[in-house]
């Protein structure tokens, strides 16, 4: 999966050809649907959060990119919007969607404990590998604590964290920093003690109740990634599609 992300990142970052980007986005959606059985409606809200960024980027590209032959789509005062800019903006939008979806796919298909096990297989010390799953396990607790702090602060008259004014919301977050840090450090004292009592610093070889290995789906995915990389390289070096970045 990680290899797939790297290969995909390489190709989405080196091209802005609209049909190719659309094909890549469709490919990621299909792989998730067929191999991981995750339908698009499950991750649609995640992708929707990128719409404002895509809109801003598209608008910026339309403004700064000159139109071929001085043919502009629209003129608003002295600002002119080019169709080339819109096309590049559309390609960047698909690039962002593809990247976001690939990262989300990693989270949706990978058990956090497996990440720690994979790191152990890479011969990284257990003490550091365990911190990965430890962090993901304690994240909801810290999120709850932050929510409680925000509520407690707003009850005491601090700026409302749900205000539509971004400055007020930023001030609300700044106000919880010290209690959040102090609460985190205080909790870590107890947890560190509990972990030491359970042998966290014991350096003897460890055994694991779960083991990770390649499954049939993983081999299919590996084959798919290889095929995708071969086809993309062929397109890139044969000159069928114009691969270039826009700066």
């Amino acid at each position: 999966m990680f290899l797939g992300i790297l290969v995909l990142l390489y190709f989405v970052l080196t091209t802005l050809v609209v049909p190719y980007m659309a094909a890549m986005l469709a490919l990621v959606v299909l792989v998730l649907w067929l191999l991981a059985r995750i339908p698009p409606r499950e991750y649609a809200p995640v992708l929707a959060t990128f719409v404002p960024l895509i809109a801003i980027v598209t608008l910026m590209q339309a403004v700064v990119r000159p139109a071929a032959g001085d043919a502009y789509l629209a003129r608003i005062g002295s600002v002119r919007l080019s169709s080339e800019g819109f096309t590049v903006g559309l390609a960047i939008g698909m690039r962002l969607m593809t990247m976001a979806l690939t990262f989300a796919a990693f989270a949706m298909t990978t058990n956090p404990n497996d990440i720690a096990l994979a790191l152990t297989k890479l011969r990284i010390h257990y003490r550091y590998c365990y911190l990965t799953s430890f962090a993901l396990r304690f994240l909801p607790l810290v999120q709850d604590e932050a929510a409680t702090l925000l509520t407690a602060m707003s009850v005491r008259g601090s700026p409302d964290p749900s205000s539509s004014n971004p400055v007020k919301r930023a001030r609300a977050v700044t106000n919880i920093l010290l209690p959040l840090i102090v609460g985190s450090l205080r909790r870590s004292v107890d947890i560190a003690l509990a972990m030491e009592l359970r042998g966290y610093r014991d350096d003897r070889p460890r055994t694991y109740i779960r083991r990770i290995g390649m499954k049939t789906e993983d081999y299919w995915l590996l084959a798919g990634i290889t095929l995708f990389a071969v086809v993309s390289f062929a397109l890139k070096f044969s000159g069928v599609l114009e691969f270039r970045t826009y700066g």
Binding site: L9, L13, L16, V46, T49, F50, P52, L53, I54, A55, I56, V57, Q61, V64, V88, I92, L96, M99, A100, F103, A104, F106, A107, P112, R127, Y128, L131, F134, A135, L136, F138, L139, V142, Q143, E145, A146, L150, P166, R169, A170, V173, T174, I176, L177, L178, L180, I181, V182, S184, L185, R186, R187, S188, V189, A192, L193, E196, T245, Y246, G247
Partner: protein
């Protein structure tokens, strides 16, 4: 209100590579605190810039990375730097989140090395020293994001450079928030290497 900026900071014993459980777990919790704070900050950043600028995030990041880099050495610095990107990538918070590994590490690692090189043994930093160290670390921090703006978002170089300068202002302001927090943390007794002032003992 401004008195705290004039006082020298209480001293602590700097360790470059602590491996004790308490330091590791404290760093993880600082990383989690940063992740949660950034989840809120990124929503605010999205509201005004669609996620193309990280102004609120820039104000919050040093509040967690400074204690980690200064109190828990290189080990704590790297843990805090990489907890947030792991979560950000797993939850797909930003299309640039794969760059957060480099961004955060480029802030915390130089910061902890500067503290290792320049921290006097007998006292903590005064505000000016703290401000300079933070600003230098901030110069490196946003570089991967600038590269991301150009390579991923295809932003013009001038726009990316403007973003870089705006973020530097954010780091400057962040130092004013961070210094009192560090001051209070050192006096709270929660930092294991802090050298607390001797208390008067009452004997019968």
């Amino acid at each position: 209100m401004w008195d705290i900026y004039r006082q020298p900071r209480p001293n602590w014993r700097y360790r470059l590579l602590p491996t004790d459980t308490r330091s590791l777990i404290s760093a993880v919790f600082l990383g989690l605190g940063m992740t949660v704070a950034l989840q809120i900050a990124e929503r605010i950043d999205f509201a005004y810039s669609g996620g193309s600028l990280f102004l609120v995030a820039v104000l919050l990041v040093p509040q967690f990375e400074n204690p980690a880099a200064m109190f828990y050495g290189l080990t704590g610095a790297l843990i805090v730097a990489w907890i947030n990107p792991v979560v950000a990538n797993l939850t797909a918070t930003s299309p640039l989140s794969f760059l957060f590994f480099a961004t955060n590490a480029l802030h915390t690692v130089p910061l902890t090395l500067m503290v290792y090189a320049f921290k006097p043994k007998d006292r903590g930093f005064n505000f000016l020293e703290f401000l300079i160290i933070n600003q230098v670390a901030g110069l490196l921090d946003v570089l991967p994001i600038i590269w991301g703006s150009i390579a991923v978002l295809s932003a013009p170089t001038s726009v990316a450079l403007f973003g870089y300068l705006i973020h530097q202002v954010g780091f400057f302001v962040a130092s004013f928030i961070s210094y009192p927090i560090m001051h209070r943390l050192l006096r709270s007794g929660l930092v294991p290497t802090a050298e607390l002032p001797a208390t008067t003992t009452h004997t019968a």
